[in-house]
Amino acid sequence: MVDILIIRNKCDPATVATNWIGKGLKSHLKSKGYTVTDLNDAQATPANVNYWLNYGNKRTKKVAICFDHGSCGAFYGEKNNAVTPVITKTNAEDLTKELHVYTFACSTSGNSCVGQTAVKKCCYSWLGYTEPVYVILGEYMPLKECIWSYIDAMVAGKTIEQCEAILKQAYKDRFSLHWIFKYNHDRLRLYKKQSGMSIITHNRCPSVDVYIRDNLKDKGKEPSQGSLALSPDIIITLDPVPNPEKKFGDMSKNYGKNEVEIGNDNHIYLRVSNKSNTSSDVHAKVYFAPLTTSCVPSSWEFIGETILKNVPAHGYKVSSKKDVIVWKDVPDPGNIHHFCVIASIAGSGDPHPDTSGIHTGGDYWKFVRDHNNIANLNIRMVNSVPDGLSLTNFRIQGFPSKTICDIELDAKALPAGSSIGIKIRRNMFKKGKTTLKNMYERTSRTSRTNYWFYIKKKGVGIIKNLEIPPGNGYQSTVEVKLSGNAQNDKVYPLRISQKISGKIIGSVTLLIHSLNIKQVQYIAVKSSHLVHKSSCPAVKNLNPENIVPYNSIEDARIDGFDWALDCLNKSFTSKNVSFRLAQKVLRFVNKVGDSKTLCKKVEDTLGIGYYKGGYGKTQKKGISLIRTTANRIIKRRKELGKFTSLQQIDEIPYVGKDTFIDIVNSFK
């Protein structure tokens, strides 16, 4: 039994060339986890092709790749070193039923030819050419790469339409190399049974039911119960994990901290489960949207896709090191500094759910609940000391028509004595219509554009009948002042829900991680945007509202805190700098008129103390840049137009590590 059958005879000059196009393909596909039979040269007989393709035995499960002679009536192999038909209009029904066929051969996709006949019967898709094709004699790699592009797209789980578009583009990209690329391109034709198929979802394997969990209690039942915003099966890490199967292997655990670092690469691992009696490959797509009460698909942006091979029957699989989805240079989402991440999965006979009918948050959350192929991560984790204050921005989503909704803050789990407030845009608040339940207005904070409402008594606070104009949505902020009685190392959830007619149409969950100031390693100071060692004198006796506790310096950076110069003045690279500080440095360096001003900025900021701390010498009065170094930076800026990342400055030859560090430190 194999996933893919390759047929490539070799009995005349033309097939010597087509045979070479298939050379190395088997090992290439095996490296991607597929099983393959390669009927090479004399093995490409009618008997062998029938053995591997006949529907009765289903020895080939997904794809037939055919590099050989072709005509309107047949695709050919060889017998006794002579060209011989192997797939014909007569046997196509049996041999290609529920398979995808990809040919590089003449004329099989002409009108009423073998390709169209096969698809009219039960073949899922057939890509061929309407007329004879040209091949280049001699081992010409651009042609081989072009032909392989469709195969690579298929085995990456792309839809057949995407595969076709990729092949067409591969041809177009090579138009200037040789005329045959245009010639073949113009004669390419795809027949398909339906749209949206991939080799993962439509093949000869039994249909399965695969799922990705909405919460730890989710067993794949539709509709699912419980939280929808906290999928434990989407795991985001900053650095790649060497052995994710082991590290994330316990399905009863939630490994996510799931903070996404803006401006850096993040790594996404998935865990998928299979309820069925047979194993299946699973194709997964991951998207992001800004943190909002309702992540409607129109706000999704594609991050990446992967295939988890052979997810076992009644079992599960964790992304391997190879399956990781890298979220490159995570973009700045603006005022809302956090994201929802959405995963959609598909298995054999269990395609990705169709999102086209979703227009409102209500549709969306119902969709997530009703489909076990979709999961969501719509949370934000915040650290806080007891008596500490945290602010989180998110978006209250509106819809194409005017929306009347309630915002509900469920703070039942927070310790007594905590204060929970929410900022609401004044134009959502309609006098006489909007009402408060277990909430009050803090008039001292009311401004021209916003109200601040706070929960009265421990429990749930509701703002009823807020109005959002058609097509609009507003940024909001939730403020939590954690009670002084909060326990150390405990996570307190706060759920913010958007409701229409009593039904939840969207929600954002904040997880407030309480950490005792005496037991953490680092303390960040909000007013200075700097993080200190917790033992540093500079953080003694600060107002708890002005500090954030951390046990990891990376987490502090993700939240926009950089290393303080008094206690953390050590060597670093661009990777260690927060997105916030990086933007500050870049704005200056991109704007500065000449190298002299750049030198002066460093000189004016970094004094003797910095010099002592960083370099341990005392002779000098302070620090300045060497003019030639500053000139190099300005020169590089001219070459690039402008710097878009700190790494570009870090990498300028002869600028040196210390100089880079001095420049960045000047902006702290």
Partner: protein, 82 residues
Amino acid sequence: MKSNKQKKLGSQKKRPIEKLEKWVNEHPKEADLPAMNITTGKTFTAREVLKELKKEEKTGIATVDKEFLEVKSNIKKWLEEI
């Protein structure tokens, strides 16, 4: 102005034979690659086609080989796009 511009564009447009010659000069390796029609087994290189075209132009005598005519017409269509 308008007619001037059109004239300029017109004069910039190269004839196929010149375009092919330019391409052959820029892609010496590809110009010598034999391209085979898998059905007929006929093979031509772009350099050979250029040579034939030049000969035709010089002598006024065109080749009537069916496969060659087809390749010639395909190359002309291709030259319009590159």
